[in-house]
């Protein structure tokens, strides 16, 4: 039913300059911060100081405190762990599964391909967020539902992309040349097709990690993501939205963290795409 997937590869922006490098550095910092949060966070994420609830940012609490007097900065740092790990795990699952299915469908072709692709295309009827809500309705709230929802939601994209790459590569003459030497399907698929198909799929996976972070945060915001006391960016905003007028900083910081990481991912990914494209152009001309 879906005619064709708009190739994310087409979305090259203006020439990127140094933005991707800056974004890459920012991403490194973000991952480091998430990893090191137990050591660098100024406060434990769950330490409640009710006497200091709803404090505006100060020297003691750079980002302020929430309604239980917990340090917002510490919770943002710990939240990065939750958000990033959920996004990375789900996208890894989705991407590897999609690559496997897409590679096989693209290589085999015929009715198998049509039926499998039709089944996978069904997921388009449920936009990411609806799919996630459906799974939450079945499995209950929590990180498992979120991971599963993200993995299923983006499966079609990775499958389609890998499939189209494989199908295009299959027509390349170098594949015919290998066949001429007597190469079998394993050699063709693993040595000729997949290595050439991987790079763009991985870049798109990286870009999609940004979307996954957004989705994870949205579910958290509905109170359906990682459950308290585990801190997550979306979850912090969920409780913070009730204090929107009194303590806007509680939602301001986690939101900014989400926006910053997603923007960094996109800038970096775009940069890699441009680099790949330049390389490809050099090869074909």
């Amino acid at each position: 039913m879906i005619a064709r997937l708009v190739d994310r590869l087409m979305w090259r922006g203006p020439r990127p300059g140094i933005a991707p490098i800056v974004a890459g550095a920012a991403l490194l910092c973000l991952v480091a911060a998430a990893f090191l949060s137990p050591w660098i966070a100024p406060w434990p994420y769950d330490q409640q100081m009710l006497a200091e609830a709803d404090r505006a940012p100060s020297l003691a609490h750079w980002f302020g405190t929430d309604e239980f007097g917990r340090d917002v900065l510490s919770r943002v740092l710990f939240g990065a762990r939750t958000s990033l790990s959920v996004a990375l795990v789900s996208i890894s699952v989705s991407c590897s599964l999609g690559m496997a299915i897409g590679a096989i469908c693209g290589y085999v072709g015929g009715p198998v391909d049509r039926w499998v692709m039709a089944a996978i295309d069904m997921t388009w009827c449920f936009p990411e967020i609806l799919l996630a809500l459906l799974l939450v309705a079945i499995l209950g709230p929590g990180s498992t539902s979120t991971v599963l929802a993200i993995a299923i939601a983006y499966l079609a994209q990775f499958t389609r992309l890998t499939r189209s790459q494989i199908r295009a590569l299959k027509r390349e003459t170098f594949v015919e040349a290998s066949l001429c030497f007597g190469a079998g399907p394993a050699h063709i698929l693993l040595r000729r097709l997949l290595p050439n198909a991987v790079a763009p799929v991985v870049v798109v996976a990286m870009l999609t990690t940004g979307d996954a972070i957004l989705l994870e945060a949205t579910l958290g915001f509905f109170g359906m993501g990682a459950q308290p006391p585990t801190p997550s960016w979306g979850g912090m905003m969920s409780s913070g939205s009730e204090l929107l007028f009194e303590a806007p900083w509680v939602i301001l910081w986690p939101g900014a963290a989400i926006a910053a990481s997603v923007i960094a991912i996109n800038l970096f990914g775009d940069g890699v795409l441009v680099a790949l494209d330049v390389k490809k152009r050099r090869r074909t001309h």
Binding site: W11, M122, S241
Partner: protein, 309 residues
């Protein structure tokens, strides 16, 4: 064209059936006894039996599905557990708000997105292009609920231009529609821009210049027409973005609508309502995609032939 439309519509039927199966299976996939999921706990056995019979839970899954579909085509979506009212009625009350929000958001994404994309393409790699594309990047990456909350803080609380929440006054739709539309707009702008640039490199555009057609005419008449095809593909594929975005934003702005209904129902484990609203939202996505496909085919003669072979 009419034949193409009918073929497209028929192709949608199996998809629709699969969607209904998924939605139907929902209550069976939930851990625990479906009856428990269909009613409040602590009800007496007689009530349980009555409900069990009403839902046909003593029969096989296939029979249950057929019975459920039978009700569905007659517009009977069951009864809400919490509100004890027909689900169809609840949906009827809410759907108008969602349509208004979705429609406005869609219009906003399309119009502003195309204008921004064309402008960026005309100034490729110059300041205007960079500025617009940076804005588009931010638009597609900022979480919509966060943006919604910030907009409430600024426009509703600080400036007091529009109501904070609800849907009592028509102005209340402005902020939600902008919030939902922004993500779509960013995507439309990016696709319009790249489609214009890629089309401009094609031979037939060189020939248009060689015919003496003015640059302005080429940009506005010929290139734009080509750029609209991928934009429509994008919009019809990503109609889910608008539908999904509406769900989130309705919740943020405490606006009535299918999204709020769904999220509240999930919180209350009100499965008939979950089923009903999920089904309606999925249908919205399917129809949106269909309309997009048809518009594309109307514009691009090659599309109609492609699917026939």
């Amino acid at each position: 064209m009419a034949k193409y439309a009918i073929r497209r519509l028929l192709a949608l039927l199996p998809v629709f059936l699969v969607v209904t199966v998924i939605v139907f299976l929902l209550i069976h996939l939930v851990p625990g006894d479906p009856i428990d999921n269909l009613m409040r706990s602590g009800s007496d056995p007689a009530q349980r039996d009555a409900l069990s019979r009403a839902y046909g839970l003593d029969r096989s899954l296939v029979e249950q599905y057929l019975a459920w579909m039978g009700h569905l085509v007659r517009g009977d979506l069951g009864t809400a557990i919490v509100q004890r009212r027909p689900v169809a009625e609840l949906i009827g009350e809410n759907i108008g708000y969602s349509l208004a929000l979705g429609g406005l958001a869609l219009a906003f994404s399309a119009i502003v997105g195309i204008v921004a994309g064309v402008t960026a393409a005309s100034f490729q790699d110059r300041v205007a292009d960079r500025a617009l594309m940076s804005l588009a990047l931010v638009g597609s990456t900022v979480p919509s609920f966060w943006l919604g909350l910030l907009m409430i803080l600024f426009f509703a609380v600080q400036l007091g231009w529009v109501p904070v929440s609800g849907a009592r006054h028509w102005t209340s739709v402005i902020l939600p529609a902008t919030t939902v539309g922004l993500a779509g707009m960013a995507l439309v702008a990016r696709v319009t821009r790249i489609a214009m640039i890629e089309t401009a490199r094609q031979d037939f555009v060189t020939l248009l210049h060689a015919k003496g057609v003015s640059r302005f005419t080429i940009q506005t008449r010929h290139l734009l027409r080509h750029a609209l095809v991928p934009v429509l593909t994008l919009l019809s594929l990503r109609i889910g973005l608008i539908v999904g975005g509406s769900v989130t934003v309705e919740y943020v702005f405490a606006r009535p609508g299918l999204g709020s209904l769904l999220i509240r129902a999930i919180g209350q484990r009100d499965y008939p309502v979950i089923q009903g609203s999920l089904l309606m939202l999925a249908i919205a996505v399917m129809l949106g995609t269909l309309v997009g496909d048809l518009l594309q085919a109307a514009m691009d003669p090659r599309q109609r032939e492609d699917d026939r072979s």
